[in-house]
Subunit: 233 residues, 2 copies
Amino acid sequence: MKEQAIDYYAHQAKMYVATDCIVFGFDEGDLKLLIFKRRVDPNKGAWSLIGSFVELEEDVDDAARRVLEEITGLDKVFFEQSKTYGKAERDYGYRCISVAQYALVRVDEYDKELVEKHGAFWYTVKDLPKLVLDHDDMVKDALDKLRRKARYQPIGFELLPEKFTIPQLQSLYEAIYQRELDPRNFRKKVLSLNVLKKLNEKDKTTSKRGAYLYTFDYKNYQKLLLSGFNFEI
Amino acid sequence: MKEQAIDYYAHQAKMYVATDCIVFGFDEGDLKLLIFKRRVDPNKGAWSLIGSFVELEEDVDDAARRVLEEITGLDKVFFEQSKTYGKAERDYGYRCISVAQYALVRVDEYDKELVEKHGAFWYTVKDLPKLVLDHDDMVKDALDKLRRKARYQPIGFELLPEKFTIPQLQSLYEAIYQRELDPRNFRKKVLSLNVLKKLNEKDKTTSKRGAYLYTFDYKNYQKLLLSGFNFEI
DNA sequence: TATAATAAATGTATGTTTTACGTTTATTGT
DNA sequence: ACAATAAACGTAAAACATACATTTATTATA
């Protein structure tokens, strides 16, 4: 019986399996993406997402975490699968499929030296250079997913520091959706969800009056989920 | 330079790549799933999704279409990637990742003989048997995707015959969401989208009065998309 | 020390969508 | 002719979204 099983697998094709990370960050009012200049052939010198081959004994998801940590020093990052790119001809000359995963990173936390050392840069999503292979598609698809997801799941908070103001949160959503939101309505909506904890601290970097800082209230969010209501901005 | 490229790939691991299809159908008021009893080892005799290894020169998406056609005789089926399952230990003894894709099939169109010949059956989603490997997760995840997607994209129509009544459409949505909908509000909502063409024909199988048949109006749907409005039930 | 400037915070009126439920209509089998 | 039944239509109240005006806290500077 074991013989038969081995037989069944034996004459099947094997392929390279890679994972590529679409790493989003939010800085200075803009949605950013972490990309780097390839240092090995093929396509040496071209702009690329960060990625890696998946090792034989490694979960695909872990491979993505490994690469991201190598380059930013961050572990415990929000990760989600975007899509798998499996066209036979996508990687010239080699059969390689890639599982794209997007990550949301707090720009105040990553290791700047490490990022620089690896030749990586934060680029504004609006004016990215051309990327290698099908990486442009990967970015486009991941952005779509991010936008869709951000509407009904509180993932935006993964991109902000622990403490943030409501105008900052608004600015993030404006960057994600690429359109202006009404500050009065935005505040009303977001506060009505009851998932923000108001702190007794103000951020005064953008105004004399200062804006109150908030944190995301994970406990209340769990309650919200259980009660059947859903987060929607 | 080519040398260097070859080198780069040469010492990377290769894996088996499979695709599994979560095939949804709608029949007798229930959401159904096409599963079959495995005829080869490993796991001979266990219930499984239909699937296949991806061939060396074949797009991953095409592999899914190939399997589905082999088993149902159907081509031109709605397909969408669900998720890739890439745990190192998911397939005992062999490193094999699987790209799960869900398909929506019109139950009145598939080739019954062919399905039977392959040992496949339509099971109500509500009481599926235990499936091999991580196929239970695949079904659960695909159902989530289907539910989410059906809310803002008119994919439900892929599961109904060309001509359908509004009560039938409602019954489909009730099966997808596993909850009852108000027939008056459902009708109002779905008609307000302007994507249904009313025919001069009735279906009299469920009532003496008969219900008008409709078709999906792809042209108006395109207009709806362009105008920025969106389909939401 | 009074005042100007500025972003933050609060408020309100109107229009739109959703929800919950009652009534009428077309058809057929008795 | 009439009872039975699903289909189709209608309406009132509540919830939510949108558009826009005003007040407030703070600091720099006149």
